[in-house]
Symmetry: C2
Protein backbone atom coordinates (compact mmCIF):
# COMPACT_ATOMS: atom_id res chain seq x y z
CA UNK A 1 0.00 0.00 0.00
CA UNK A 2 1.20 3.49 -0.86
CA UNK A 3 2.57 5.62 1.93
CA UNK A 4 0.25 8.36 3.19
CA UNK A 5 0.72 11.90 1.95
CA UNK A 6 0.65 14.51 4.71
CA UNK A 7 -0.74 17.87 3.69
CA UNK A 8 -0.01 20.67 6.16
CA UNK A 9 -2.70 23.32 6.06
CA UNK A 10 -5.17 21.10 4.25
CA UNK A 11 -8.12 22.82 5.87
CA UNK A 12 -7.40 25.63 3.40
CA UNK A 13 -8.76 25.55 -0.14
CA UNK A 14 -5.66 24.36 -2.02
CA UNK A 15 -4.68 21.74 0.54
CA UNK A 16 -8.20 20.42 0.87
CA UNK A 17 -8.61 20.17 -2.90
CA UNK A 18 -5.32 18.31 -3.10
CA UNK A 19 -6.35 15.95 -0.30
CA UNK A 20 -9.69 15.27 -1.95
CA UNK A 21 -8.24 14.68 -5.41
CA UNK A 22 -5.48 12.39 -4.13
CA UNK A 23 -7.86 10.27 -2.07
CA UNK A 24 -10.21 10.00 -5.04
CA UNK A 25 -7.15 8.71 -6.92
CA UNK A 26 -6.81 6.02 -4.26
CA UNK A 27 -3.95 7.60 -2.34
CA UNK A 28 -3.97 7.67 1.48
CA UNK A 29 -3.78 11.24 2.78
CA UNK A 30 -3.25 12.82 6.18
CA UNK A 31 -4.79 16.25 6.60
CA UNK A 32 -2.85 18.53 8.90
CA UNK A 33 -4.15 21.58 10.70
CA UNK A 34 -3.29 23.59 13.77
CA UNK A 35 -6.48 22.16 15.25
CA UNK A 36 -7.10 18.42 15.34
CA UNK A 37 -10.81 19.10 15.31
CA UNK A 38 -10.65 21.17 12.13
CA UNK A 39 -8.38 18.56 10.55
CA UNK A 40 -10.94 15.86 11.29
CA UNK A 41 -13.75 18.02 10.00
CA UNK A 42 -11.83 18.53 6.73
CA UNK A 43 -11.22 14.78 6.51
CA UNK A 44 -14.96 14.28 6.96
CA UNK A 45 -15.63 16.59 4.02
CA UNK A 46 -13.25 14.48 1.91
CA UNK A 47 -15.21 11.35 2.89
CA UNK A 48 -18.42 13.02 1.72
CA UNK A 49 -16.87 13.12 -1.75
CA UNK A 50 -15.15 9.73 -1.55
CA UNK A 51 -16.75 7.46 1.05
CA UNK A 52 -13.90 4.94 0.78
CA UNK A 53 -11.25 7.64 1.15
CA UNK A 54 -8.17 6.71 3.14
CA UNK A 55 -7.97 10.03 4.93
CA UNK A 56 -7.46 11.15 8.48
CA UNK A 57 -7.09 14.50 10.21
CA UNK A 58 -4.29 15.28 12.67
CA UNK A 59 -2.50 18.28 14.09
CA UNK A 60 0.27 19.44 11.77
CA UNK A 61 3.25 18.08 13.67
CA UNK A 62 1.70 14.62 13.89
CA UNK A 63 0.58 14.71 10.29
CA UNK A 64 4.05 15.65 9.05
CA UNK A 65 5.52 12.44 10.46
CA UNK A 66 3.16 10.17 8.59
CA UNK A 67 4.79 10.11 5.16
CA UNK A 68 8.00 10.86 3.32
CA UNK A 69 6.61 13.60 1.08
CA UNK A 70 4.92 16.44 2.95
CA UNK A 71 2.93 19.14 1.18
CA UNK A 72 2.85 22.62 2.73
CA UNK A 73 -0.24 24.48 1.53
CA UNK A 74 -0.50 27.34 4.00
CA UNK A 75 -0.72 31.04 3.08
CA UNK A 76 2.62 32.80 2.79
CA UNK A 77 2.03 34.83 5.94
CA UNK A 78 1.86 31.55 7.89
CA UNK A 79 4.75 29.80 6.13
CA UNK A 80 7.54 30.75 8.55
CA UNK A 81 5.46 29.94 11.63
CA UNK A 82 4.57 26.54 10.21
CA UNK A 83 8.15 25.75 9.29
CA UNK A 84 9.32 26.78 12.75
CA UNK A 85 6.78 24.40 14.22
CA UNK A 86 8.00 21.59 11.97
CA UNK A 87 11.69 22.14 12.70
CA UNK A 88 11.88 19.31 15.25
CA UNK A 89 9.46 17.12 13.36
CA UNK A 90 10.73 16.84 9.81
CA UNK A 91 13.43 14.21 9.33
CA UNK A 92 16.31 13.86 6.87
CA UNK A 93 15.24 12.26 3.57
CA UNK A 94 11.78 13.76 3.82
CA UNK A 95 10.71 16.04 0.97
CA UNK A 96 8.78 19.19 1.72
CA UNK A 97 6.66 20.37 -1.20
CA UNK A 98 6.23 24.08 -0.75
CA UNK A 99 3.13 25.48 -2.44
CA UNK A 100 3.12 28.95 -0.91
CA UNK A 101 3.05 32.07 -2.99
CA UNK A 102 4.35 35.39 -1.67
CA UNK A 103 1.65 37.67 -3.01
CA UNK A 104 1.34 41.13 -1.51
CA UNK A 105 -2.00 40.01 -0.07
CA UNK A 106 0.05 38.57 2.79
CA UNK A 107 0.60 42.14 3.99
CA UNK A 108 -2.73 43.57 2.94
CA UNK A 109 -1.69 44.41 -0.61
CA UNK A 110 -2.92 43.12 -3.93
CA UNK A 111 -2.75 39.44 -4.80
CA UNK A 112 -1.80 40.56 -8.31
CA UNK A 113 1.51 41.80 -6.92
CA UNK A 114 4.26 39.88 -5.19
CA UNK A 115 6.53 40.50 -2.26
CA UNK A 116 10.28 40.33 -2.52
CA UNK A 117 11.51 37.46 -0.40
CA UNK A 118 15.06 37.82 0.88
CA UNK A 119 16.04 34.29 -0.18
CA UNK A 120 14.55 34.88 -3.62
CA UNK A 121 11.34 32.92 -3.27
CA UNK A 122 9.08 31.34 -0.70
CA UNK A 123 10.46 27.93 -1.68
CA UNK A 124 14.02 29.08 -1.03
CA UNK A 125 12.94 30.53 2.30
CA UNK A 126 11.49 27.11 3.11
CA UNK A 127 14.75 25.41 2.11
CA UNK A 128 16.60 27.66 4.54
CA UNK A 129 14.19 26.83 7.36
CA UNK A 130 13.84 23.06 7.10
CA UNK A 131 16.23 20.77 9.01
CA UNK A 132 19.38 19.57 7.26
CA UNK A 133 18.71 16.67 4.96
CA UNK A 134 15.15 17.72 4.14
CA UNK A 135 14.84 18.83 0.56
CA UNK A 136 12.33 21.36 -0.66
CA UNK A 137 10.49 21.11 -3.94
CA UNK A 138 8.22 23.90 -5.15
CA UNK A 139 4.98 23.00 -6.92
CA UNK A 140 1.26 23.62 -7.39
CA UNK A 141 1.56 27.42 -7.41
CA UNK A 142 -0.44 27.98 -10.55
CA UNK A 143 -3.25 25.54 -9.80
CA UNK A 144 -6.63 27.09 -9.04
CA UNK A 145 -7.68 25.99 -5.56
CA UNK A 146 -11.29 26.47 -6.55
CA UNK A 147 -11.16 24.21 -9.58
CA UNK A 148 -9.07 21.65 -7.71
CA UNK A 149 -11.64 21.56 -4.92
CA UNK A 150 -14.60 20.82 -7.17
CA UNK A 151 -14.68 17.04 -7.55
CA UNK A 152 -16.35 17.15 -10.96
CA UNK A 153 -14.32 20.02 -12.42
CA UNK A 154 -12.00 18.86 -15.17
CA UNK A 155 -8.37 19.89 -14.95
CA UNK A 156 -6.12 20.31 -17.98
CA UNK A 157 -2.94 22.13 -17.17
CA UNK A 158 0.67 21.87 -16.11
CA UNK A 159 2.29 22.05 -12.71
CA UNK A 160 5.74 23.65 -12.78
CA UNK A 161 7.99 21.72 -10.41
CA UNK A 162 11.16 23.37 -9.08
CA UNK A 163 13.89 21.69 -7.08
CA UNK A 164 17.58 20.99 -6.97
CA UNK A 165 17.40 17.18 -7.20
CA UNK A 166 15.67 15.62 -10.16
CA UNK A 167 14.94 12.38 -8.28
CA UNK A 168 13.03 14.32 -5.62
CA UNK A 169 11.14 16.29 -8.22
CA UNK A 170 10.25 13.05 -9.99
CA UNK A 171 8.73 11.61 -6.81
CA UNK A 172 6.62 14.72 -6.40
CA UNK A 173 5.71 14.63 -10.08
CA UNK A 174 4.38 11.09 -9.73
CA UNK A 175 2.05 12.23 -6.97
CA UNK A 176 0.86 15.26 -8.93
CA UNK A 177 0.19 13.16 -11.99
CA UNK A 178 -2.08 10.85 -9.99
CA UNK A 179 -4.62 13.63 -10.45
CA UNK A 180 -6.22 13.37 -13.90
CA UNK A 181 -5.55 16.40 -16.08
CA UNK A 182 -2.37 17.50 -14.36
CA UNK A 183 1.04 17.20 -16.00
CA UNK A 184 4.17 17.91 -13.98
CA UNK A 185 6.82 19.90 -15.85
CA UNK A 186 10.41 20.04 -14.66
CA UNK A 187 10.84 23.80 -14.33
CA UNK A 188 14.43 23.69 -13.12
CA UNK A 189 16.34 24.39 -9.93
CA UNK A 190 14.66 25.54 -6.75
CA UNK A 191 15.68 29.11 -7.53
CA UNK A 192 13.31 29.01 -10.51
CA UNK A 193 10.52 29.24 -7.94
CA UNK A 194 11.30 32.98 -8.03
CA UNK A 195 9.60 33.01 -11.39
CA UNK A 196 7.00 30.28 -10.92
CA UNK A 197 5.60 31.74 -7.70
CA UNK A 198 5.02 35.03 -9.47
CA UNK A 199 2.97 33.41 -12.22
CA UNK A 200 0.26 32.94 -9.60
CA UNK A 201 -0.13 36.70 -9.33
CA UNK A 202 -0.27 36.94 -13.10
CA UNK A 203 -3.04 34.34 -13.21
CA UNK A 204 -4.99 36.07 -10.43
CA UNK A 205 -4.86 39.18 -12.57
CA UNK A 206 -6.01 37.24 -15.63
CA UNK A 207 -8.80 35.62 -13.60
CA UNK A 208 -10.24 38.98 -12.62
CA UNK A 209 -10.23 40.16 -16.21
CA UNK A 210 -11.50 36.99 -17.88
CA UNK A 211 -13.82 35.85 -15.05
CA UNK A 212 -12.21 32.43 -14.96
CA UNK A 213 -9.81 30.24 -13.04
CA UNK A 214 -6.85 30.15 -15.36
CA UNK A 215 -3.91 27.80 -15.33
CA UNK A 216 -0.70 27.45 -17.28
CA UNK A 217 0.36 25.06 -19.97
CA UNK A 218 3.82 24.83 -21.48
CA UNK A 219 3.64 24.22 -25.22
CA UNK A 220 6.07 22.22 -27.31
CA UNK A 221 7.02 19.52 -24.81
CA UNK A 222 5.83 16.49 -26.73
CA UNK A 223 4.15 13.43 -25.31
CA UNK A 224 7.06 11.54 -23.78
CA UNK A 225 7.44 11.07 -20.05
CA UNK A 226 10.40 13.21 -19.05
CA UNK A 227 10.49 11.93 -15.48
CA UNK A 228 11.59 8.36 -16.22
Amino acid sequence: MAEPIPIIGATGALGWGLAMRLTVAGQPVVIGSRSAERAQEAAGRVREVAPDAKVEGLVNDEAAQRGPIVFLTVPFRAQSENLNNLRDVLQPEQILVDCTVPTAAAVGGKATRTLGVWQGSAAQQAQEMVPDGVTVVGALHTLSAKTLGEPDAQLGEDILVCGDRKADKARVARIIELIPGLRAVNAGALETARIVEQITSLLISVNARYKTHAGIRVTGLGEEDHWG
Copy 2:
Protein backbone atom coordinates in the same frame (compact mmCIF):
# COMPACT_ATOMS: atom_id res chain seq x y z
CA MET B 1 -4.13 49.61 -47.08
CA ALA B 2 -2.89 48.78 -43.60
CA GLU B 3 -0.26 51.06 -42.12
CA PRO B 4 3.28 49.65 -42.09
CA ILE B 5 4.62 48.10 -38.91
CA PRO B 6 8.12 49.27 -38.02
CA ILE B 7 10.25 46.69 -36.23
CA ILE B 8 13.35 48.12 -34.58
CA GLY B 9 16.11 45.54 -34.41
CA ALA B 10 14.48 43.28 -36.95
CA THR B 11 17.83 41.99 -38.15
CA GLY B 12 17.81 39.93 -34.95
CA ALA B 13 16.03 36.59 -34.73
CA LEU B 14 12.80 37.65 -33.00
CA GLY B 15 12.33 40.82 -35.02
CA TRP B 16 13.09 39.10 -38.29
CA GLY B 17 10.68 36.28 -37.52
CA LEU B 18 8.02 38.81 -36.67
CA ALA B 19 8.67 40.75 -39.87
CA MET B 20 8.52 37.58 -41.95
CA ARG B 21 5.32 36.29 -40.34
CA LEU B 22 3.53 39.63 -40.59
CA THR B 23 4.42 40.12 -44.25
CA VAL B 24 3.29 36.57 -44.99
CA ALA B 25 0.01 37.62 -43.34
CA GLY B 26 -0.18 40.47 -45.87
CA GLN B 27 0.94 43.25 -43.54
CA PRO B 28 3.43 45.87 -44.72
CA VAL B 29 6.52 45.92 -42.51
CA VAL B 30 9.53 48.20 -42.15
CA ILE B 31 12.65 46.52 -40.88
CA GLY B 32 14.83 48.78 -38.78
CA SER B 33 18.51 48.32 -38.05
CA ARG B 34 21.46 50.48 -37.05
CA SER B 35 22.74 49.81 -40.56
CA ALA B 36 20.59 50.51 -43.62
CA GLU B 37 22.51 47.87 -45.49
CA ARG B 38 21.77 45.16 -42.94
CA ALA B 39 18.13 46.28 -42.81
CA GLN B 40 17.86 45.87 -46.57
CA GLU B 41 19.59 42.52 -46.42
CA ALA B 42 17.06 41.35 -43.82
CA ALA B 43 14.22 42.64 -45.97
CA GLY B 44 15.68 40.64 -48.84
CA ARG B 45 15.57 37.50 -46.74
CA VAL B 46 11.90 38.16 -46.03
CA ARG B 47 11.26 38.44 -49.76
CA GLU B 48 12.88 35.06 -50.27
CA VAL B 49 10.10 33.61 -48.11
CA ALA B 50 7.32 35.83 -49.43
CA PRO B 51 8.14 37.23 -52.88
CA ASP B 52 5.18 39.62 -52.73
CA ALA B 53 6.11 40.88 -49.28
CA LYS B 54 5.54 44.54 -48.59
CA VAL B 55 8.80 45.00 -46.74
CA GLU B 56 11.59 47.52 -46.75
CA GLY B 57 14.73 48.03 -44.71
CA LEU B 58 15.70 51.38 -43.18
CA VAL B 59 17.86 52.69 -40.37
CA ASN B 60 16.03 52.56 -37.06
CA ASP B 61 15.14 56.23 -36.72
CA GLU B 62 13.64 56.35 -40.19
CA ALA B 63 11.84 53.06 -39.69
CA ALA B 64 10.27 54.21 -36.42
CA GLN B 65 8.48 57.07 -38.19
CA ARG B 66 6.73 54.84 -40.69
CA GLY B 67 3.86 53.54 -38.61
CA PRO B 68 1.87 54.14 -35.44
CA ILE B 69 2.82 50.89 -33.68
CA VAL B 70 6.55 50.30 -33.37
CA PHE B 71 8.00 47.00 -32.17
CA LEU B 72 11.29 47.06 -30.30
CA THR B 73 12.99 43.68 -30.58
CA VAL B 74 16.54 44.44 -29.52
CA PRO B 75 18.47 42.61 -26.79
CA PHE B 76 18.10 44.11 -23.32
CA ARG B 77 21.67 45.36 -23.28
CA ALA B 78 20.84 47.52 -26.31
CA GLN B 79 17.41 48.68 -25.14
CA SER B 80 18.46 51.93 -23.47
CA GLU B 81 20.73 52.96 -26.33
CA ASN B 82 17.97 52.32 -28.84
CA LEU B 83 15.41 54.25 -26.81
CA ASN B 84 17.84 57.15 -26.45
CA ASN B 85 18.24 57.18 -30.21
CA LEU B 86 14.47 57.20 -30.69
CA ARG B 87 13.82 59.99 -28.20
CA ASP B 88 13.51 62.68 -30.86
CA VAL B 89 11.84 60.37 -33.32
CA LEU B 90 8.87 58.80 -31.58
CA GLN B 91 5.76 60.97 -31.55
CA PRO B 92 2.80 61.24 -29.17
CA GLU B 93 0.07 58.69 -29.92
CA GLN B 94 2.61 56.16 -31.14
CA ILE B 95 2.70 52.84 -29.33
CA LEU B 96 6.02 51.20 -28.59
CA VAL B 97 5.77 47.45 -28.18
CA ASP B 98 8.67 46.43 -26.01
CA CYS B 99 9.75 42.83 -26.46
CA THR B 100 13.00 42.93 -24.53
CA VAL B 101 13.75 40.54 -21.73
CA PRO B 102 16.24 41.39 -18.99
CA THR B 103 17.98 38.05 -18.69
CA ALA B 104 21.32 37.91 -16.93
CA ALA B 105 22.85 37.03 -20.31
CA ALA B 106 22.91 40.80 -20.91
CA VAL B 107 25.80 41.00 -18.44
CA GLY B 108 27.40 37.68 -19.24
CA GLY B 109 25.26 35.61 -16.86
CA LYS B 110 22.79 32.85 -17.50
CA ALA B 111 19.75 33.39 -19.68
CA THR B 112 17.86 31.25 -17.18
CA ARG B 113 18.23 34.04 -14.65
CA THR B 114 16.97 37.61 -14.78
CA LEU B 115 18.36 40.98 -13.84
CA GLY B 116 16.57 43.30 -11.47
CA VAL B 117 15.55 46.41 -13.37
CA TRP B 118 15.17 49.54 -11.27
CA GLN B 119 11.80 50.42 -12.75
CA GLY B 120 10.60 46.86 -12.19
CA SER B 121 10.79 45.55 -15.74
CA ALA B 122 12.31 46.31 -19.11
CA ALA B 123 8.89 47.48 -20.29
CA GLN B 124 8.63 49.96 -17.44
CA GLN B 125 12.15 51.17 -18.18
CA ALA B 126 11.01 51.73 -21.74
CA GLN B 127 7.96 53.67 -20.54
CA GLU B 128 10.25 55.95 -18.57
CA MET B 129 12.46 56.57 -21.58
CA VAL B 130 9.97 57.21 -24.37
CA PRO B 131 8.74 60.76 -25.07
CA ASP B 132 5.57 61.95 -23.33
CA GLY B 133 2.46 60.70 -25.06
CA VAL B 134 4.05 57.50 -26.33
CA THR B 135 2.61 54.48 -24.60
CA VAL B 136 4.50 51.27 -24.05
CA VAL B 137 2.97 47.83 -24.36
CA GLY B 138 4.94 44.71 -23.45
CA ALA B 139 4.52 41.61 -25.60
CA LEU B 140 6.11 38.64 -27.38
CA HIS B 141 8.48 37.77 -24.52
CA THR B 142 7.62 34.08 -24.41
CA LEU B 143 7.65 33.45 -28.14
CA SER B 144 10.50 31.33 -29.45
CA ALA B 145 12.43 33.38 -32.01
CA LYS B 146 13.56 30.19 -33.65
CA THR B 147 10.08 28.79 -34.18
CA LEU B 148 8.77 32.19 -35.26
CA GLY B 149 11.53 32.48 -37.85
CA GLU B 150 10.79 29.16 -39.55
CA PRO B 151 8.11 29.90 -42.13
CA ASP B 152 6.68 26.39 -42.01
CA ALA B 153 6.79 25.89 -38.25
CA GLN B 154 3.35 25.82 -36.71
CA LEU B 155 2.70 28.06 -33.74
CA GLY B 156 0.12 27.32 -31.04
CA GLU B 157 0.56 29.47 -27.98
CA ASP B 158 -0.37 32.64 -26.20
CA ILE B 159 1.27 36.04 -26.12
CA LEU B 160 0.88 37.80 -22.78
CA VAL B 161 0.23 41.49 -23.45
CA CYS B 162 0.90 44.04 -20.70
CA GLY B 163 -0.01 47.70 -20.74
CA ASP B 164 -1.88 50.41 -18.94
CA ARG B 165 -4.45 51.18 -21.66
CA LYS B 166 -6.69 48.42 -22.90
CA ALA B 167 -7.32 50.17 -26.22
CA ASP B 168 -3.58 50.24 -26.94
CA LYS B 169 -3.19 46.61 -25.93
CA ALA B 170 -6.09 45.70 -28.20
CA ARG B 171 -4.40 47.32 -31.21
CA VAL B 172 -1.24 45.35 -30.51
CA ALA B 173 -3.28 42.20 -29.97
CA ARG B 174 -4.85 42.57 -33.41
CA ILE B 175 -1.41 42.65 -34.99
CA ILE B 176 -0.19 39.65 -33.01
CA GLU B 177 -3.27 37.65 -33.92
CA LEU B 178 -2.59 38.21 -37.63
CA ILE B 179 -0.04 35.43 -37.16
CA PRO B 180 -1.77 32.04 -37.28
CA GLY B 181 -1.45 30.12 -34.01
CA LEU B 182 -0.90 33.10 -31.75
CA ARG B 183 -3.53 34.28 -29.28
CA ALA B 184 -3.01 37.55 -27.41
CA VAL B 185 -3.97 37.43 -23.73
CA ASN B 186 -4.55 40.58 -21.72
CA ALA B 187 -2.05 40.03 -18.92
CA GLY B 188 -2.78 43.28 -17.09
CA ALA B 189 -1.06 46.56 -16.40
CA LEU B 190 2.42 47.37 -17.69
CA GLU B 191 3.86 46.49 -14.28
CA THR B 192 2.83 42.87 -14.91
CA ALA B 193 5.72 42.79 -17.36
CA ARG B 194 7.81 42.18 -14.23
CA ILE B 195 6.36 38.70 -14.21
CA VAL B 196 5.92 38.08 -17.92
CA GLU B 197 9.50 39.02 -18.82
CA GLN B 198 10.75 36.47 -16.33
CA ILE B 199 8.76 33.65 -17.88
CA THR B 200 11.20 33.83 -20.78
CA SER B 201 14.02 32.71 -18.49
CA LEU B 202 11.81 29.92 -17.20
CA LEU B 203 11.15 28.74 -20.76
CA ILE B 204 14.84 28.93 -21.68
CA SER B 205 15.47 26.63 -18.73
CA VAL B 206 12.69 24.27 -19.86
CA ASN B 207 14.05 24.33 -23.43
CA ALA B 208 17.46 23.12 -22.29
CA ARG B 209 15.94 20.29 -20.31
CA TYR B 210 13.30 19.18 -22.82
CA LYS B 211 15.29 19.94 -26.00
CA THR B 212 12.47 22.01 -27.40
CA HIS B 213 11.27 25.56 -28.01
CA ALA B 214 8.56 25.91 -25.44
CA GLY B 215 5.85 28.53 -25.23
CA ILE B 216 3.09 29.38 -22.79
CA ARG B 217 -0.63 28.86 -22.93
CA VAL B 218 -3.13 30.13 -20.40
CA THR B 219 -5.84 27.54 -19.75
CA GLY B 220 -9.47 28.24 -18.92
CA LEU B 221 -10.01 31.37 -21.02
CA GLY B 222 -12.75 30.08 -23.29
CA GLU B 223 -13.17 30.86 -26.95
CA GLU B 224 -14.59 34.37 -26.88
CA ASP B 225 -12.68 37.35 -28.17
CA HIS B 226 -11.84 39.43 -25.11
CA TRP B 227 -10.43 42.32 -27.09
CA GLY B 228 -13.68 43.52 -28.66
